[in-house]
């Protein structure tokens, strides 16, 4: 069915030329949009995929020019690459660019994603050898640094990116230390119980894992090169390369003076991907999708979600494109079952649902010992998530149960499961806030006022 009336014409501007922006532009044409289409991207590269940056690129199997995303169809768009958006004038229907240009729109899609939380300058963030890993250029720089033969790499933060970087470093034979503020890697995403399995993976691979430890400061030599880190336990750790993997911050600075409800946690929008103003009303003709969008998920009420998951970027881009070209009566609600994956230390880890809101966890299939198992997560007697470690072919069965709001613990009697399911506390740190930003690296449970999840010495 084609779009109604004005939906197919006019000027649409997509700010953000990564996965969500590209797929949204393609979906707009699929939906029958024939008007002017402009994509704005701050990086000088054509759209590329980020997941391999922390894996195959760091380990050297792929160079970054082999991470370019396929363009699935012609979109006849104007591309403004290498020019960041710096401002949004909603009443004037204009986006301002860093190079001074102004781009007019009738409808706007915000798909600016996130950036890696930087290390504070005052704690050594400006030193040569201190890296973050989010963009293609970040990956090129870090890969070069790893090839320079550092005696030790320090990874700050034991989330997914931290684990993937540490894993790649071990593949390269480098000494690695990972510091993690809580009692286990991945604890904020999967809880302490499964986090302890992740800790085993780190240690089995030869990672020097420092739990309940933060970095007070990074220190350099007179030439400004990183030389050591001061840890919270008093240790001074020599390191020539540090990778700051302490989470992501939504790219919303350019929206600061707009009327949108946008901050470091994302752009607030409704279920139809329509951006909201500070007072909670819908801002006409402005939409958001991908890592930057934060919206209420019908399956998980009470938790505005921001998902920096690959499939969410694709799915939300499609929903936004549909809604941008249709009247509100024909709008779709974005309600995918959250899903993400990570490969680290030779192990495949996949998740469906929302483990972070769980209070309990139970292993339903396989065993911890062989690092091949499925764990189910429950919240107040309801199944809300599942994680499969090296068991990717059984996870869809759990997805169906989660969507069906099955009870927890689920009655499965799986042949490779325990005789009896005994759920335990899932051990999520900082259980306090109803706000959820379910991202691969930052803790979703820190109240907004508590600031960054994991930073330098306060």
């Amino acid at each position: 069915m084609g779009p109604a009336g004005r939906g197919s014409v006019g000027r649409i501007v997509v700010v953000g030329a990564s996965l969500a922006g590209l797929r949204a532009a393609e979906a707009l044409r699929d939906e029958g949009f024939t008007g002017d289409l402009t994509l704005i991207g701050d990086e000088p590269h054509e759209p590329y995929d980020r997941p391999p940056l922390s894996k195959a690129v760091l380990s050297g199997w792929l160079t970054t020019d082999h991470t370019v995303l396929p363009r699935v169809r012609n979109i006849d768009a104007r591309w403004l690459l290498g020019s960041a958006a710096t401002g949004l004038d909603v009443p004037g229907r204009q986006v301002a660019l860093a190079d001074g240009r102004r781009v007019d729109f009738d409808r706007l899609l915000i798909a600016t994603g996130t950036h890696a939380r930087p290390w504070p300058e005052r704690a050594g963030g400006g030193l040569h050898g201190v890296h973050v890993l989010r963009s293609r250029d970040d990956a090129d720089r870090l890969r070069a640094a790893l090839l320079s033969g550092p005696r030790r790499v320090l990874v700050i933060g034991g989330g997914f990116t931290g684990g993937e970087v540490a894993s790649a470093c071990r593949d390269l034979g480098l000494n690695v230390t990972v510091t993690q503020r809580s009692g286990a890697p991945l604890a904020s995403a999967l809880g302490g119980v499964i986090g302890r399995v992740a800790a085993d993976l780190h240690r089995d691979a030869g990672v020097d894992l420092r739990l309940n430890t933060t970095v007070h400061a990074l220190e350099g030599d007179p030439a400004g090169r990183l030389r050591r880190a001061r840890l919270s336990d008093g240790t001074v750790l020599p390191a020539e390369v540090a990778v700051v993997a302490t989470g992501a911050v939504a790219n919303t600075e350019w929206l600061a003076d707009s009327i949108l409800a946008a901050d470091h946690r994302g752009v607030r929008c409704d279920g139809a991907c329509r951006a909201l103003a500070a007072d909670g009303t819908v801002v006409e003709d402005v939409f958001a999708a991908g890592d930057v969008a934060r919206w209420p998920h019908p399956l998980f009420p009470g938790h505005p979600l921001r998902l920096d998951h690959w499939d969410n970027a694709v799915a939300q881009a499609r929903t936004a494109a549909h809604n941008m070209t249709h009247d509100p009566l024909d709008h779709r609600i974005h309600q995918p079952l959250p899903a993400f994956w990570s490969n680290q230390f030779g192990v495949n880890l996949k998740s469906v649902g929302l483990p972070t809101i769980a209070d309990q966890v139970v292993v339903t299939q396989g065993s911890f010992d062989q690092h091949r198992f499925v764990a189910a997560y429950g919240q107040r007697g309801r199944l809300v998530g599942a994680v499969a470690v090296d068991s990717p072919r059984v996870l869809n069965g759990y997805a169906a149960l989660i969507e069906a709001r099955a009870p927890f613990p689920p009655v499965l009697n799986a042949p490779d499961g325990p005789a009896q399911l005994d759920p335990v506390d899932a051990e999520f740190p900082h259980r306090a806030s109803p706000e959820h930003s379910v991202t691969r690296d930052s803790s979703p449970h820190i109240p907004a006022t508590a600031g960054p999840v994991l930073t330098a010495h306060q």
Binding site: R393, V411, P415
Partner: protein, 407 residues
Amino acid sequence: MTTTTPCSATDLFTHVLRHGNRADPYPYFAQMRQQPVARMDDGTWLVSGYHEIAQLLHDPRISADRLNPQDAARPAARSLLVQDPPNHDQLRRLVTQEFIPRIMGMRDHIHAVVTQLLDAHTTPQPGQLDVVAELAYPLPVTVICELLGVPREDEPVFGSLARRLTRGLDPVDTQTDEEIHELQQARTELVQYLEVLIQQRHTAPGDDLLSGLMFSQDPSGGMGPVDLRVTLGLLLIAGHETTVNLIANGTLALLRNPEVLARLRNDPALATPLVEEVLRYDPPVQMSGRSTLADIDIAGTTIPKGARVRLVLAAGSRDAKRFPDPDRFVPDRPDNAHLGFGGGLHYCIGATLARAEAQIALTALARRLDSPRLVADPPPYRENTILRGPEHLMVSFDRLTPDVQAN
């Protein structure tokens, strides 16, 4: 097909089992899908909807053990086809490690076998060819025997055992006492044959799959004699009785869709998606059995714990809820996530080999047969319901040309 009174699941399944309906069971599958999960009078559940089958293939509450206590002839040793994790996973890993490296890079060899088989019938004159007897059957059989290390001269023995054992896969209540007895006899003969073969490899290992399975370097060790026999039996049946139907069903689809045949003749790359469409449209394996380990709420009903379940893969792959225009043969159908090789933990191990054999065989037929047409439509079908396919597929042609262009 229009009926005013909806048939029960039991009636529909009875129709499907009837040999007279073997050539076209699909109208019955379409009726089945009106109730995608339905209980039969014998307590078995028929699942015919795509999404329902897909869910159950991945459901932790499902076992591959058919729980078929009535089957008096049930063998004591179980193949990985009917085993669950963790045993299944260990056996499968062993087979995968030994099987897959031996079939990768095999396309040139398959092409050579196909060329040789068709060269025997090359003629500038009009003629006829039984595609089943002359290509679809001997191709996979030659390949599986080479892989396993079965001496070429033993193939007829092996082949006849496979045929006799295949019938045993059909529902037990469709078989006569005589057939069941015959099945046990065939199993005994197979065990005897394999034991000799295994004994030979013990003294003189080769680089074949059998030797590989026996002397695997996997940390879990090689296969014990019982698992080895059962696994070989499985590979034997799979190698003899499935790909033959894929090639035959594909040939049938090509001959019934001459415009597709013409496209394939001019564009061999079309064989890649085309074989997937054969696997969707007319799959060689029509059903797969499972049982439930817990109550399962699905499609508005509940399959109770301990029930036998029959996943009608061939019905699911024609579900309009998943595939637009499902009864049409679309050789380059996009997003063709058919159920032809099953799914989940038990996804067909031989899929890569079957695909390669079918792609190469169908392309060769399209290129080398001049003006082919079916002698009988529908062709005669074999008795088997589950591994379903034509007994013969007589094709007449104006010429059968030499292989002018080796790919």
